[in-house]
Structure formats: structure tokens, C-alpha cells
């Protein structure tokens, strides 16, 4: 279970997300919904440990993460990031194997457990047949599957995804979310992600958190929050425009 208590996130003196609190249980999905620049990525980066929080606390199963060392924390939290990994001459299997890093020894060599976790994650993300392909030579949709396998083979308690479905076509979007849905149930992982597609967020999320200019403007069940009125207000669009293209 992940608890975020009054987290303020940003870079140096520039605070971007203010006073955010929420809780996600194992097996649940919480989705950030907000415009570009609303603070979704900054918040995810802070939870992922990429940038230090300006204030507030984060607890995993009741333990404050400030007291957990880096490599132990990496075993608990795994992130699928938007940066492209630099994968010079790496096969897809090599890329997935990097997910096991916190568990390997001095020289980073994989044991049988590690290899099994990697094979299982690739199986689960339907990417086993890509194992020996070079990562640079596969499609964007396949890359996302490999990166999901990389994040999952660590067997984390918390999985963070920053706009995992951008750049994917509708086929890959839906199969990706289907995979995620199965994963969190089977592995009891707490998932926090950001999505631009509100209609997909509504279907897959247990909880949505509306973010506007860095403030939480609503948190709750998607069916209660993602109605026409809230959405038009939240995204600053007129009802007319909404009807014409989205309604």
C-alpha cells in the first residue's frame, strides 16, 4: 500500500504540485488526470525518487520511505519512465534484465531466480518472442511492452507509469491497458499512472485524481468524477467543443 501525505513537488525553489495526498492499495490503479503542465509528471517523478520532494511524506506499507536506503527502495518501487533508454547493442532481454538490478550481486550477474523473473515478465507482457531482437529495432508499441516487462520483473509493490500509452495506436493502447489490468490483479501491485485519455482512465482506474495547475481538484471514483461537466471545466474546454469532438 502506498500512502502519499501532503507532498509538495517541484524543482529547487519552483513548486509545481502542491500538498497532494492519496492512498493506493495493492491491486488498485490510481490515475492522474490533468492538462499538460498540471504537475502529473513532476508528481510521478517525485514518487519515483527521481527528484526529492520539497515537503511531505511517502509511506509504503506504513514505513516512511525517507528511512529506506536507495537500493532497498528500488526493490519496492519500479517506474516506467518517459525518457528513452540508451540501449546501444542491447537486446530486448538485456533491457528487461536491467530491471533486476537491485537484486543482483557485485558484478550484476543474474542468477536463476532473476532469469526466471525476466522470462515470466516477458511472457506476461506477451513479448517473449522479442527477447533476442535489438531494442532499437522494434516498434514503439513493442518497446512499451518491453519497458513494462522491465518494470514488472522487479516484482515491485508499487508500479509508476508516466503516460504509458502516448504514441501508441488504439490497438496497442488497449492491449497495453489489458496487460496492466491483469498484472496488478495477479501480482497485487499498487499502480499510479498518468493518462491523457480520460475515456480509458474511466474504464481502468479504481481512483482518479484531478490535477489542475498543481492542485488536486478532486479525488474519487471515476464514475463520479469524470462526467461531462467536470471534464469541460477541468480541461478548460467549452461544452460546445466537447460535444463536437468528444461527446
Amino acid at each position: 500500500m502506498l500512502e502519499i501525505r501532503n507532498i509538495c513537488a517541484g524543482y529547487g525553489k519552483r513548486e509545481i504540485a502542491h500538498n497532494i495526498s492519496f492512498t493506493v492499495r495493492g491491486g488498485e490503479i490510481l490515475t492522474f488526470i490533468g492538462q499538460n503542465g498540471s504537475g502529473k509528471s513532476t508528481l510521478l517523478k517525485t514518487i519515483a525518487g527521481q527528484i526529492p520532494p520539497l515537503s511531505g511524506e511517502m509511506l509504503i506499507d506504513g514505513v516512511n520511505t525517507a528511512g529506506i536506503n536507495r537500493s532497498e527502495l528500488a526493490k519496492l518501487v519500479s517506474a516506467m519512465l518517459t525518457d528513452r533508454p540508451k540501449t546501444d547493442m542491447m537486446t530486448c532481454r538485456d533491457v528487461v534484465e536491467t530491471g533486476r538490478y537491485p537484486y543482483t550481486g557485485t558484478f550484476g550477474l543474474l542468477g536463476d531466480d532473476d532469469r526466471k523473473a525476466v522470462a515470466d515478465a516477458m511472457e506476461m507482457t506477451d513479448s517473449s518472442e522479442l527477447a533476442d531482437c535489438f531494442f532499437t529495432e522494434i516498434s514503439d508499441g513493442q518497446k512499451q511492452r518491453i519497458m513494462l516487462a522491465r518494470a514488472v520483473c522487479r516484482e515491485p509493490k508499487i508500479l509508476l507509469l508516466d503516460e504509458p500509452t502516448s504514441f501508441l495506436d488504439i490497438h496497442y493502447k488497449l492491449t497495453f491497458l489489458e496487460m496492466l489490468d491483469r498484472l496488478r490483479r495477479e501480482k497485487d501491485i499498487a499502480v499510479v499512472m498518468s493518462l491523457h485519455e480520460t475515456e480509458l482512465a474511466e474504464k481502468i482506474s479504481d481512483t482518479v485524481l484531478l490535477l489542475k495547475n498543481g492542485y488536486c481538484t478532486g479525488i474519487g471514483k471515476p464514475s463520479e468524477l469524470l462526467d461531462r461537466k467536470t471534464l469541460t471545466e477541468h480541461f478548460d474546454i467549452s461544452g460546445e467543443l466537447y460535444e463536437k469532438y468528444h461527446g
Binding site: 527521481q50 526493490k75 519512465l81 540508451k86 547493442m89 536491467t98 538490478y101 557485485t106 550484476g108
Partner: protein, 337 residues
């Protein structure tokens, strides 16, 4: 995959052995390879041959192997650090920084009639390399483009070289004697003491780098990934900077400028082994740099024998085309993206 790595290591080891013997038997005094092997194994031979072999050629070949390895390893780390395949100790001006401080130290020592010992030389070179590296780092925080960073490094190199030239020109004739051979780059004339100091520093650095192969592999993926994997990125960065400066400073102090080895060798090794994994690349680059420099040194002292070419003349002819290949390949990748 495993088989290819194993075979490539075997090939490198065989090449190292073969070229050590060739290198030792090549030169103006005629000593045949089988006589070389006999002398090396402690068999009887005539005294002049043995003298030439053990006092001149063997130290020189050893210097080429160890310093060449250091250069290639330093280049590999800089390329990894900057995520740039054409970064290297020479193009980033780090070698030139080291040479500048060493030249100043040598001249000051000559004035005061002090003889600098090798450990002090190495320390002075390390300081110079670090200073140049800091300048490059300062610029890299302002410049996002990797090719611009290399241009800046080249400029730092030019500035350091120019200042070195000026200092050397104003120095007394007697001071310069020590500097002449050193300013074109050579593996010859190593005193046993310098060789021991170099070897100790370089092998210690090699071991340290090898033990860092796990965090380096994480750093290779990109910084955010390294953080995700639980790596203390600041510590890794500092260690990489210190170790690569130490290695390239050491070479610059004792052999002078040796160009292109740091860029060409890691690339060739990566192509040979078919992988960029640090745990393979680190020992392989070291071996490869050694072979590359033994061959270059052999060419330098045999083609216009009894005179000699500067070592950089040879390494440039062999290495620069490889650098061109890297850039063309990089360009092709960008087009494909």
C-alpha cells in the same frame, strides 16, 4: 553470445602475446623471434642481444601495452559518462591539460635543480587532467549538444597545448632537453621506476573500474534509469571522472600526447565483441588498447628505421578513419530514428 565473447577474449590474448614477441624482435639490431622467446624464458644468449631486449625493448613494449590499455579504458569511461561515442581524453582536452601542468612542473623542477620522482609527476598530471575535465564539465552543464561539447573540448586542448608551447619556448635550453621527445609522444626511454609507478596506478585504476561495472551498466541506460535502479548517481559520476582523469593523466605525463586510441579502440572492441556491457568492455578495452599501441609503436620505430615516427602519427593514421566510421554510423542511426 557467450561463445562470441569467449572467442573474442581468446583472440585478444593471442594477439597480445604474438605482438609482444614481434615487437620485441623488431628493431635495428637483428634478434629473431625464437631467440626472443629463448631470452624471455631465461635461456642463454649473447650479452648484447639480452641487454637490448631486457633493458630497451621489453620496457618499451610493456609501456605501450599498459599505457595503451589505460588510454582505451579512459576513453571508454568518458564515452559512457557523456553518452557520446567520440568523447575521449584527447579530444576533450584532458590529456593536454595534464601535459600543461607536467611541463610547468618539469621546468620549475629544472630551475630548482630538483629531479621529480614519478609519483609526483603522476600526481601533477592528475591535477592537470582534473582541471581540464572540470572545464569540460562546466561547459557540459551549459551545452546540451554533444558535438558542440567535443568542439569545446578540442578548444580547451588547443589552449592548453598553446600555453605549453609558450612555456617550453621561454624555458632555458637545458630545461627543454627533457621535454622534446615527450612533446611528440613516445613509449621509449622509460625508467624502471616510472614504469613501476605507472603500472601500479593503472592496474589499481583498472581494478577499481572493473568493480564499478555494475553501476556503470546502470548509468549507461540513462540517468533516470540509474536512479530507478537505486544507483547513487553522484558517487558514480565522481568516481568515473576521477578514474578517467587519473588514467589519461598518467599516460600524458609519461608518454606525452597519444591521439585517437581512446576513441578508436572502444569502438573496435564493441564491434568485435558484439556487446557494450561494461563487465566485458572494461577488460576488453584494456587489452585492446594494449595491442593497438604495441602495433602502433612497432610501426613507429620500424618504417623509417633507424629514425622514428612520433607515436601519434601512427595512432592517428590507424585511429582517425575509425572515428570517421563512428560518425557516419551515428549519422545513419539518426536518419533511421
Amino acid at each position: 553470445m557467450k561463445k562470441r565473447i569467449f572467442l573474442s577474449f581468446a583472440l585478444l590474448l593471442v594477439l597480445t602475446g604474438v605482438f609482444i614477441v614481434f615487437s620485441i624482435s623488431a628493431g635495428s639490431a637483428d634478434i629473431s623471434p625464437d631467440e626472443v622467446v629463448r631470452i624471455l624464458l631465461g635461456g642463454a644468449s649473447d650479452d648484447t642481444s639480452e641487454m637490448i631486449l631486457l633493458k630497451i625493448r621489453l620496457p618499451r613494449t610493456f609501456a605501450a601495452a599498459v599505457l595503451g590499455g589505460a588510454l582505451a579504458l579512459s576513453g571508454y569511461m568518458l564515452q559512457t559518462y557523456f553518452h557520446n561515442p567520440i568523447a575521449g581524453p584527447f579530444v576533450l582536452g584532458i590529456s593536454s591539460g595534464a601535459r600543461l601542468t607536467v611541463a610547468v612542473a618539469l621546468i620549475l623542477a629544472a630551475r630548482g635543480a630538483i629531479v621529480l620522482n614519478s609519483a609526483v609527476m603522476a600526481a601533477v598530471a592528475f591535477a592537470g587532467a582534473l582541471a581540464a575535465m572540470s572545464a569540460v564539465l562546466l561547459m557540459s552543464s551549459k551545452i546540451r549538444s554533444m558535438s558542440l561539447l567535443v568542439v569545446c573540448g578540442v578548444m580547451i586542448g588547443y589552449i592548453c597545448t598553446a600555453i605549453t608551447d609558450i612555456i617550453v619556448n621561454f624555458a632555458d635550453d637545458s630545461d627543454i632537453v627533457n621535454l622534446r621527445g615527450w612533446s611528440v609522444g613516445t613509449f621509449s626511454g622509460f625508467k624502471t621506476e616510472s614504469l613501476v609507478v605507472c603500472a601500479v596506478i593503472i592496474f589499481a585504476a583498472l581494478a577499481a573500474v572493473f568493480f564499478m561495472s555494475k553501476p556503470i551498466s546502470a548509468y549507461q541506460l540513462g540517468e533516470s534509469y540509474a536512479v530507478d535502479m537505486g544507483v547513487n548517481i553522484k558517487a558514480v559520476r565522481i568516481a568515473m571522472i576521477l578514474l578517467s582523469s587519473l588514467l589519461s593523466g598518467c599516460v600524458a605525463a609519461f608518454a606525452g600526447p597519444v591521439t585517437f586510441v581512446g576513441i578508436a579502440v572502444p569502438f573496435l572492441i564493441k564491434m568485435l565483441f558484439g556487446t557494450a556491457k561494461p563487465i566485458v568492455m572494461i577488460p576488453a578495452c584494456f587489452l585492446g588498447g594494449g595491442v593497438f599501441c604495441i602495433i602502433s609503436d612497432m610501426i613507429a620505430r620500424t618504417v623509417i628505421s633507424p629514425s622514428e615516427l612520433g607515436i601519434s602519427t601512427v595512432t592517428s593514421v590507424l585511429g582517425a578513419p575509425v572515428v570517421l566510421m563512428i560518425m557516419l554510423r551515428k549519422n545513419k542511426e539518426r536518419v533511421r530514428d
